[in-house]
């Protein structure tokens, strides 16, 4: 069992790399999508809506297949565009699919966070002369981030698990290695339990990290500070020195 575990851990760096890269890039794409949604320009808004509709409405597995196998059919065209080197690699295809998929969900999380900022607080900021940029930087974004954090944490956890689908296109991350071991040893239960345990530990760490961040960013949602007892200066200086 220990040996199996160690073997599976060899896939951990790839799992982490796929998660970290897709979550980071996905956030950037998501911000662009959320901006389009709220731009008030019909063409951009429509594009972002359609994007979210398609990527949320179809299975990630289908998206991975379409990008890896589907685009393979257009090899001459991709070669002409100098993109074949990218789409030939299963790693880049998996990363692209994961990124585009998470971006759709995260853009909705961002939009929900921004819309949750109470109107009155925005008006108070405008009423004291904040420019739109300052209003976003000092009021809207800080409040929206706190609102969106739990949902965003959820999305990261889903992404950790979603990287296992990359094994379908030959990626040797944790699940990919598990498949390989099973075909060699036929000890399916033991191996899948070990693989499951690795994802569990990973997501435990993610959950804790998000919780810590939430705690740090949300003192206003906790109990009021306990009034500090003022010590008699004479006594406290006596204690200190």
């Amino acid at each position: 069992m220990g040996e199996t575990f160690l073997k599976l851990l060899e896939g951990l760096p790839l799992t982490l790399k796929l998660t970290f890269s897709s979550v980071t890039l996905g956030l950037v794409v998501a911000m662009a999508l959320a901006t389009m949604r709220m731009s008030g320009m019909p063409a951009l808004d429509w594009f972002a809506r359609a994007y979210v509709f398609v990527f949320r409405g179809t299975p990630l597995l289908v998206q991975i297949f379409l990008i890896y196998y589907g685009l393979g059919q257009f090899r001459p065209a991709l070669q002409a565009l100098n993109l074949w080197g990218f789409f030939r690699e299963p790693y880049w295809c998996a990363l692209l699919a994961l990124t585009l998929n998470t971006a759709a969900y995260v853009s909705e999380i961002i939009r929900g966070g921004l819309q949750s900022v109470p109107r009155g607080q925005i008006e108070a900021a405008r009423a004291c002369g904040m420019s739109p940029f300052l209003l976003y930087r000092r009021i809207i974004i800080p409040i929206a981030v706190r609102q969106a954090l739990p949902g965003y944490g959820n999305e990261i956890i889903l992404m950790v698990k979603a990287t296992s689908l990359a094994s379908i296109i030959t990626m040797m991350e944790v699940t990919g290695i598990a498949h390989k071991l099973i075909s060699q040893t036929f000890r399916a239960i033991e191996i899948f339990i070990c693989a499951g345990a690795i994802y569990l530990i990973l997501n435990f760490v993610v959950t804790r990290a998000i919780q810590a961040l939430e705690h740090r960013l949300s003192p206003h949602l906790r109990d009021a500070p306990v009034p500090v007892q003022r010590l008699d200066p004479a006594i406290s200086s006596g204690v200190d020195r």
């Binding site: 108070a124 405008r126 009423a127 420019s131 800080p142 206003h220 009021a224």
Partner: protein, 258 residues
């Protein structure tokens, strides 16, 4: 004598509709430096809309607003509606006109002290240390300096409104707008906020106060303006308008609000 000096705020023939609903139908109003004007009127008469036009939270359809003699420039936008001609002028004027809201609207992610120093530091770009010192003095003045490190959610309504008043004062405003500052408060908390507002009036601050507090209108304000269906129905010193109202509607309003 007030005719010779520039009024702190001057409103000329202000008009505003929401869709087909005409909310303001030609309002004119001058407030001299140091005047406290109470604005009365039944629900829906346009009091909030008028106040919000003065700092451009709503854009008037027509009319002219001048703050300390500076006329807010408006123009017709592409869609045919009026819009501010110059955004930075609006921001500049807003930083001189403070507003206190019925629902306080403190920024929930900032402590009381951070709420008070936010705009002075980031909008007026004044030195942080100076802003903190002033903020603590203002919080002491409104009686909540011991709550400076609390978040709004940890304060009573009355304390939140006093914090909001300190936040408004921190901008060193030329004009203060109050939109029903005590209407969201439990009855026992109204007094503490009114006391702070009374002390501001005694300092000679120019204030436009939308209120249902007849006592405040009668005792503190230098003038009372009664709005009805988007028009000024009564305008005069409280001593005159309360004892001898010229408008029958205002007479009825008084009798309903004893």
């Amino acid at each position: 004598m007030t005719l010779l000096s520039t009024p702190a705020v001057s409103v000329r023939d202000l008009r505003k509709s929401f869709g087909s609903l005409e909310v303001l139908r030609g309002i004119s109003l001058d407030a001299a430096e140091g005047q406290v004007i109470s604005i009365l009127g039944s629900s829906g008469s346009g009091k909030s809309t008028m106040l919000r036009c003065i700092n451009m939270l709503e854009t008037p359809d027509a009319g002219e607003i001048a703050i300390g003699g500076e006329v807010i420039a408006l123009r017709k936008g592409r869609n045919g509606r009026t819009e501010p001609a110059n955004r930075s002028q609006v921001d500049r004027i807003r930083s001189r006109v403070a507003m206190v809201f019925q629902s306080f609207n403190l920024w929930s992610h900032l402590t009381v002290l951070e709420n008070v120093i936010e705009a002075p530091i980031h909008v007026q770009k004044r030195p942080r240390a100076e802003c903190i010192a002033e903020a603590e003095a203002l919080l002491a003045k409104v009686g909540i300096v011991d709550k400076r490190n609390h978040y709004p959610a940890h304060l009573s309504g009355g304390q939140q409104q006093r914090a909001a008043i300190a936040r408004a004062l921190a901008m060193k405003p030329q004009l203060m707008l109050f939109d029903e500052p005590t209407s969201a408060l439990d009855p026992e908390l109204v007094g503490e906020v009114l006391r702070v507002m009374r002390s501001l009036a005694e300092e000679g601050r120019t204030m436009l106060v939308v209120t249902h507090e007849m006592g405040f209108a009668r005792d503190v304000s230098s003038r009372v303006v009664f709005l009805h269906k988007g028009m000024v129905e009564e305008d005069g010193p409280p001593g005159e308008v309360f004892s001898a109202p010229t408008s029958p509607r205002f007479r009825q309003f008084i009798s309903e609000h004893r």
